[in-house]
């Protein structure tokens, strides 16, 4: 059960070199305009790190996260994830990596509608080829750990924002990924609920060594991370150890994950 990242690994989990991303758009007259969003990104993230990415709206944070999550492809440059050159992988292999290596947490929760919390959490396991019964068993276990066992049969629209995000986190964790990518996970939540979610991430990172990359523009959310990266207009302008590294503290609100 503990992720492979507990002991210091010989290779970085994420290694990005000279990465650029641009979008081609057609303007009103039909001319193609190229809009470069990421410029010459170099980024190495070791296993077990807890990284916050900050920056103004439109600075390219989500674009970077999507590339990290193998949802999007860079225009140029290289991306190595767990020693694999992502550019060389087939679509099926990418799907497999998203299934096994990465857990996504989104600002808008992105749960499947009209499906119970339990089935939402179980779905990644179904895609991994695990039986429905087994998947549900494992999903229920995760819901119990995030304090949602009583809401297993609820559908997303019957849950509060905080509860939905905990379902999403349970779903992200269900297949034991070494990496969690969270794009503004607290963006839709109030302060108290945000704090609970951040404590959950903190606990996952400390107890299981799960690597967490988190996008936020709130300083007090970023404070939970151990490393801070700042993007400005598609450039990394800051990459430093977090000054408040020991700051958050507080007792974990969840049973040991």
């Amino acid at each position: 059960m503990p992720a492979q990242s507990l002991n210091p690994a010989a290779y970085p989990l994420i290694q990005i070199e000279r990465l650029c991303k641009s979008y081609s758009l057609q303007d009103a007259s039909g001319k193609t305009i190229t809009n470069q969003v990421l410029f010459d990104i170099h980024l190495t993230i070791q296993q077990g790190e807890f990284v916050a990415i900050m920056g103004h709206s439109g600075s390219g944070k989500s674009t970077l996260m999507n590339i990290l999550g193998c949802l999007d492809t860079p225009t140029s440059g290289s991306y190595w994830l767990a020693e694999k050159n992502v550019a060389t992988l087939s679509k099926d292999e990418l799907a497999r990596i998203r299934n096994e290596k990465i857990g996504f947490v989104f600002q808008g929760f992105n749960l499947l509608k009209r499906m119970t919390a339990l089935d939402n959490v179980a779905t990644p396991l179904l895609y991994a080829g695990i039986s429905r019964a087994q998947s549900r068993k494992r999903a229920l276990e995760l819901l119990r750990r995030t304090g949602l066992e009583n809401f297993a049969m609820h559908q997303p629209n019957q849950l509060s924002g905080g509860q939905q995000q905990r379902v999403a986190i349970s779903r992200a964790l269900v297949n034991h990924p070494p990496l969690i990518l969270a794009d503004e996970p607290t963006g839709n939540l109030d302060t108290q609920t945000s704090r609970e979610i951040m404590l959950l991430f903190d606990q996952l990172n400390r107890e299981q060594g799960i690597t967490i990359v988190l996008v936020t523009h709130e300083d007090d959310i970023a404070a939970y991370a151990h490393r801070l990266i700042r993007l400005k207009d598609g450039h990394i302008v800051l990459d430093e150890k977090n000054r408040h590294e020991t700051a958050p503290g507080g007792t974990p609100s969840f049973p040991s994950l």
Binding site: L71, R96, R98, N99, N110, T123, Y127, G129, R132
Partner: protein
């Protein structure tokens, strides 16, 4: 993801939009029901024609007096009296011929007790029953010696017997035909309608000798209305036709270059034409019905395309949590197939029900075969796969990031 889970998901998705699913299914239901109904009507018509042809007897010629007219032939067109019983006997001697049966006809009034019944009488020889493939329900046909003695024996068709006798056993009873007493010796098994739609079971058959002398009269002695001629084998049919023609021309002393005063009709060939016509009809009916299936299929494609667009974000989420292209493709394809299969099953039931109603109230023979049921399933799944594939492929080839960003 295993198939059972995908089927579960597909069912859930279909349930989420019951009205739309139902309306889409309606196209399939109508299509399949129409195909099943049309096929069963077509098959029924073919079966009916085959039965009629089998009942008619095999390798048959009908020889009628009079030249072939441009309007085809008519059964014993009254005026010409060029064919005789002796012609019939002579033809029976030909090597290619198995048997012949000369026939005279005439309208008669039948009486039994208080009941009476008007019909057409057939005077013929005992060969008639074998040549015309008539089987006896009860009793027996009259014999050659009855023919020689011009006995007053009569064989009744099942409808005629029923009209005169109801539940009573007619065998041995005496009826009056044009006021002369006849003993009923046999009842024919029912045959149903002929190819031309005539009720063949309303018939009265007596020896031709008796008929000539006592019933139909003999203004032209020995002349007959028509004769049935049976060739020995199907292969003899061509030769038989030539031989009959040559013999009759010779017997009637028709000089070279003048046209025949008789017409030889190959009934088996006419039957083949009828069979082919029925086959064509069932194919045409099936093809017309298939068009509605096609329309149903297009409806499914349309709805699936809408569904893929509406659920773009769901597709993105599924891809983000590990669905590969095949999983997405299977999911949408299965939804389309499920609509088709469910529509197919309901359509099948309605089609069979409709066929039953038609057979019940329109007095048509309807035949439903296992093959048709199989075909309906095959067709509806094929429609599902064919029209579901493009939308499913479209869903599966979305880029994860684009699908996720879709508003």
């Amino acid at each position: 993801m295993n198939l059972l889970s995908i089927i579960g998901e597909a069912l859930r998705a279909l349930r989420q939009n019951r009205l739309r699913t139902g309306l889409t299914m309606l196209g399939m239901i109508i299509g399949v029901a129409a195909v099943v109904l049309m096929l069963s009507i077509g098959q029924g018509a073919r079966t009916k024609i085959n039965e009629t042809i089998a009942a008619m007897g095999s390798n048959l010629f009908l020889v009628v007096p009079g030249a072939t007219s441009s309007g085809g032939f008519s059964f014993g067109s009254g005026s010409v009296r060029t064919l005789t019983i002796n012609d019939s006997h002579a033809i029976a001697e030909l090597t290619s011929i198995k048997a012949t049966a000369p026939v005279t006809t005439g309208p008669v009034q039948l009486n039994y007790g208080a009941k009476n019944w008007s019909t057409i009488i057939t005077g013929t020889t005992p060969n008639y029953f074998e040549v015309g493939n008539w089987k006896m329900e009860s009793g027996a046909a009259f014999t050659e010696s009855d023919l020689r003695s011009a006995a007053r024996f009569v064989v009744l068709g099942s409808v005629t017997a029923k009209n005169l006798f109801n539940e009573e056993d007619p065998i041995g009873k005496t009826i009056r035909i044009s006021n002369r007493p006849f003993v009923v010796v046999g009842i024919l098994m029912a045959k149903g309608q002929s190819l031309t739609g005539r009720d063949q079971d309303d018939t009265v058959i007596i020896p031709i000798s008796t008929s000539e002398r006592q019933i139909t009269g003999s203004q032209f002695p020995g002349s007959i209305r028509y004769m049935l001629v049976q060739a020995k084998t199907p292969d003899d049919m061509d030769i038989a036709e030539i031989e009959i023609t040559q013999l009759l021309r010779q017997r009637h002393r028709i000089p070279k270059g003048k046209e025949n005063d008789f017409t030889v009709r190959n009934l088996t060939a006419i039957a083949d034409v009828a069979t082919d016509a029925a086959k064509v009809m069932s194919i045409v009916l099936g093809a017309i019905a298939s068009v509605s299936l096609l329309v149903g299929g297009i409806g499914i494609m349309n709805i699936m395309l809408v569904s893929v667009t509406e659920r773009t974000r769901e597709i993105g989420i599924r891809m983000a949590i590990g669905a590969n292209q095949r999983a997405i493709l299977t999911q949408f394809l299965l939804e389309a197939m499920m609509i088709c299969l469910m529509g197919g099953i309901i359509g099948l039931i309605i089609g069979i029900g409709g066929a039953w109603l038609v057979s019940r109230f329109a007095d048509m023979l309807i035949v439903i075969t296992a093959g048709m049921v199989g075909l309906a399933f095959l067709f509806s799944s094929a429609v599902g796969i064919f029209f579901g594939f493009y939308p499913a492929k479209k869903a599966a080839s979305l880029k994860p990031v684009d699908a996720l960003r879709y508003e």
